[in-house]
Every structure is written in C-alpha cells, then in structure tokens.
C-alpha cells in the first residue's frame, strides 16, 4: 500500500499533513505517535470513513480515495476500529457471520477456522457479545475481520484496555497471523514498546506529520525518537 501526500482537514484543523509512506506486503507496519498525532484519522481515511483534502492511497494498483467504505472493505481491507466495534446485541456467531456476509467465501469453513484460531469464541458461539470480556471482544473483532480473508488489516489500538499479559498474547497472535496468512498489517498503537517488538516497519507521526519512517529496529534504536515522540525511557 502506497500513501502519498495525504492531507486531511477537520474544518480549519489539519489532522494529517502531507503524509507519505509505503506499507510493504506481508509485513507489519506500526504507526506510532502520541495522542492526537493523527493515527486513527489515518486509518479512517484509508477505510473511506473520512475524506481527505488531497493525496492518494493506492493498494495493489487501485486508488482508494473517493470510494465508499463498504467498497473498500470488499477490496480486502479489514478494519478493526478502536473500541473493537463488536455488535453487543448479536451473538458471537452472528458477529462472525456478519463479517463474512459481503464476501464470497465458505462460511462453515471460515467459522471453523476462526474457532480453531480463537477457541474461546468457539465455546461461546451462542452467547451475546455483550457478555464477553474485553480480551474476548478484541478476539471476536479480530476474528470477524479475518473471516473475510483480508489482504490488509487495519488494527486500531488493539491492546487498549487489556491486561498486559493478554495484550502480549494478542501481539503474538498478530505476528503469527501475518506470517501464516500472507497478510499486511497496519498497526496503530500507543503502546510503542509492544508494537515495535512485533512490527517489521514503523512510521512515527507527530501532529499529523511523518517524523520518522523505517524498519522497526531502526526506530526502536533511535534514542531521540524514543524520547520525544514515543515517550519511552530506557
């Protein structure tokens, strides 16, 4: 995925300014930065929920800008929004069926696969999503995105609100998925430490601008970046 010269405005405020970077296939790209750096806006723009003022987003040769959100989803862009977005009034299985609905896939096989991946969901398939714990909801949201077999997965703060152990487990799962599924992941995280541990590449945003862009290892070893933008102290 290639993002070039992307600018997004909310009224007079520029949430994203002239952002350019490339997310490589089958790799995890972490998008890092402080609160209000424009990370969530970036994901929402990719999904078509926000219309940019200028710039382009191209994925496998297809321009995304100007397309409707549901069209973009059907192009193979999965988006797990911040706060997970599971439908509490639906059962676990209904949530998963909804995720598969718009795609031409074998539903039964898809469900099996997700239940295998996330056994706890299999156990609770008839339960309403409102009864799940935070971690289980996050898994459900991931499973619901994955069942559509996306090629690009946008994850918005997946570890937010989770216990550190659960969060770490989740990161490992993401890493495995990326390796086995030939999946590109754009991972937005405030928890830079965890994200950099599993990411291949990293982009650092500050007040809507790209301040660093490179391999995760490079970013992780840059003291200045760590201190000023990521709030990580040795």
């Amino acid at each position: 995925m290639q993002i070039s010269n992307l600018t997004v405005r909310y009224g007079a405020i520029e949430a994203i300014r002239d952002v350019t970077f490339t997310a490589m296939p089958s790799r995890i790209t972490a998008v890092l930065g402080a609160n209000g750096a424009g990370k969530t806006t970036l994901l929402r723009t990719i999904s078509g929920l926000v219309q940019p003022a200028s710039g382009s987003i191209v994925i496998e040769g297809v321009e995304l800008i100007g397309r409707a959100t549901d069209d973009i989803a059907r192009l193979g862009v999965g988006h797990v929004p911040e706060g997970r977005g599971v439908i509490a009034e639906f059962t676990v299985e209904e949530n998963l069926r909804l995720g598969a609905m718009a795609f031409d896939i074998d539903l039964a096989a898809g469900l099996d696969e997700q239940y295998q991946q996330f056994p706890v969901l299999g156990e609770r398939r008839k339960q309403y999503a409102s009864t799940l714990s935070g971690g289980e909801r996050q898994m459900l949201a991931m499973a619901r995105a994955l069942i559509a077999q996306p090629r690009l997965l946008l994850l918005d703060e997946p570890s937010l609100g989770l216990a550190p152990l659960v969060a770490a487990e989740l990161m490992t799962t993401i890493r495995e998925l990326c390796a086995t599924k030939n999946l590109s992941v754009l991972l937005v995280e405030q928890n830079a430490k965890g994200a950099l541990r599993i990411a291949d590449d990293a982009v650092v945003l500050s007040v809507g601008r790209v301040v660093a862009n490179g391999s995760a290892a490079e970013v992780a070893s840059d003291d200045q970046l760590r201190q000023y933008y990521l709030g990580l102290v040795q």
Partner: protein, 298 residues
C-alpha cells in the same frame, strides 16, 4: 362450547383482535423504520394510503382485487424507497425535529395530493371475501371469512418479517446496519441499501394494513389512515420503539381494550382509551414494556 364462542367476552375479543392486528401492523411498520433509520415517520399512514390508492382504484377498471393489492404493494415499495433516498437521507445525523417536520410536510403533500388526484370522496372497495360473520345456531360468532383472512394474513406478515430479520442474510445485515452503521460499513455491508430496504419493507407492511382497513372499514379516502396512525404510534411507543414483537402485542392489546371499553363503559371513551394505556405504561416503564432495560448512554 358454542355458547362460549358466542359469549360477550369472546365476541369482544374477536372484534378487538381484528381491529388490533391492523393497529399492530401500523405499529410494526413504524418500528421497522425507527429501528433502521431513527426517523419517526409521521407520514407512515399517508404513504400507506397513497400506495393503496395507486392500486385499489384499479378495481374500478375491472381488475381483480388481488392484482390491485399487488400493484399497491409495488407502489408502496417504490414510494418507500424513493422517500428514503430523496427526503430522509439528507436528515441523518440532524436534530430530531428536522425529520419530524419534513415528514409532517410530506404527510400534507400526500394527503392533499391524493385529494387532488382521486378526490376526497370515500371509495368503497368490494371485498373479495364475505364480511358476514359466521353463526353458531342463532348466535353470532364474530369471525367472517374476511376477518379470518385479516387476522391470519396480518399474523403471517408479522411472522414473515420476524423470520426475515432473524434467519436470513439480509435480515442480519438489516439489523447490523440499524445497530452499528459504521462498523457494518467497515465489514463491507452496503448500509445505505439496507436503510432503503428497511423503508421498502416497512412501506409494504403499512400499505397492506391500509388496504385491509379500507376494505373492512369506512372505505378508502385521503385521511382514512389518520386515526390508525395515531393508534399505531401509541402501540409502537407502548411496545418500545425498538421491539417489533412488542408493537404487535401492544396493537392487539389496544384493539381488544377499546372494544371492551366501547361495550362495557361508553363508546365515547374509546378514542382516548389508548392514551390512558400509554400514560400508564410510560409511567411504569418509560422505554416501553417490551424492551430490555438499557442504561443511558452519554
């Protein structure tokens, strides 16, 4: 046994139920729209009336009753779909009063428009089935072939809508679009089509009720749905605007209680009976008797 079925209480229940399922259908159509688009459709009754006129006036040109019904239902679907696309779509996310006013304006256009096209005169629709009640011995059993059809088809329609929502792919998408439009979009669901579809189904349900009302009651005329709309709205509010089943039950309840009031107390109290039921139910459970308690979201 015959004496039981022709007793005063059973008679009142049968008369009330026939009336009540119609109130329930209107309530159901209101709930369908409220659920999917959070618009309180004041023009619901008028849209149903207009669609009924489109088809049922063909009776005068010698067309078969059921063909006319079919034409009306198609007209209703078109009207519902176009209304959602043209009038309602710009209102999403706006203040509540905006949609109330637009639908009130649309109500005026439809009723005056129908009067302009078809005149304000009541048209009697020749019933396809006998409306004479059956008798058991010398007593009347308050059921006729038409009222059986009326109750039966209304219940079938309600079950059909429920099944559609519960068991089909489309139903799942309809519900998801209503509950969480943005998430549904992210999952590739064509939400805007689903909203239109919600209006289409709701309009068809309303038009069916209007046709039955015109056939069994005082005929078809531009304001013939006004009273039923108010009762239907009250039923929907009693049931809780989120609950199709609650709407239907509340409609039945209103019909039956009204008949009892007319029979045992006074016919002149009938018009404000539903309101008393509403006030009582709202004081007990403000969000409707048939909805689960939810906490206020900030």
């Amino acid at each position: 046994m015959g004496a039981f079925f022709t007793s005063r209480i059973v008679s009142d229940i049968l008369i009330g139920a026939a009336q009540g399922v119609l109130v329930g259908l209107i309530a159901l159509s209101l709930v369908l729209i409220w659920q999917s688009t959070h618009v309180l459709n004041f023009a619901q009754g008028a849209m149903a009336m207009f669609a009924a006129f489109c088809g049922m006036t063909m009776l005068e040109h010698g067309l078969n009753y059921w063909v006319c019904v079919l034409i009306s239902l198609v007209a209703a679907m078109l009207l519902g779909g176009v209304t959602e696309r043209v009038l309602v779509r710009p209102l999403y996310g706006k203040a509540e009063i905006n949609s109330i006013v637009v639908m009130v304006g649309f109500l005026g256009i439809l009723e005056s428009g129908a009067s302009s096209i078809w005149s304000g005169m009541a048209r009697q629709l020749t019933s396809p089935l006998s409306q004479t009640y059956f008798t058991l011995g010398s007593k009347t059993l308050y059921l006729s072939p038409f009222s059986l059809f009326q109750i039966g088809s209304a219940l079938t329609l309600m079950l059909g809508v429920a099944a559609l929502f519960r068991f089909t792919k489309i139903g799942l998408q309809l519900r998801a679009s209503a509950l969480a439009p943005e998430v549904s979009r992210l999952l590739g669901v064509r939400v805007s089509r689903m909203l239109t579809l919600g209006w289409i189904i709701s309009s068809a349900v309303g038009a069916f009720a209007a046709i039955i009302i015109a056939t069994s009651g005082s005929g078809l005329f531009p304001s013939n749905m006004d009273g039923f709309f108010v009762f239907g709205f009250i039923a929907a509010a009693i049931g809780g605007l989120e609950s199709p089943g609650g709407a239907i039950l509340a409609g039945l309840l209103i019909g039956i209680i009204q008949t009892f009031v007319a029979d045992y107390l006074s016919p002149s109290w009938v018009a404000f009976t539903p309101v008393l039921i509403l006030v009582l139910s709202q004081l007990v459970r403000p969000a409707g008797i048939f909805t689960k308690n939810t906490t206020r979201r900030l």
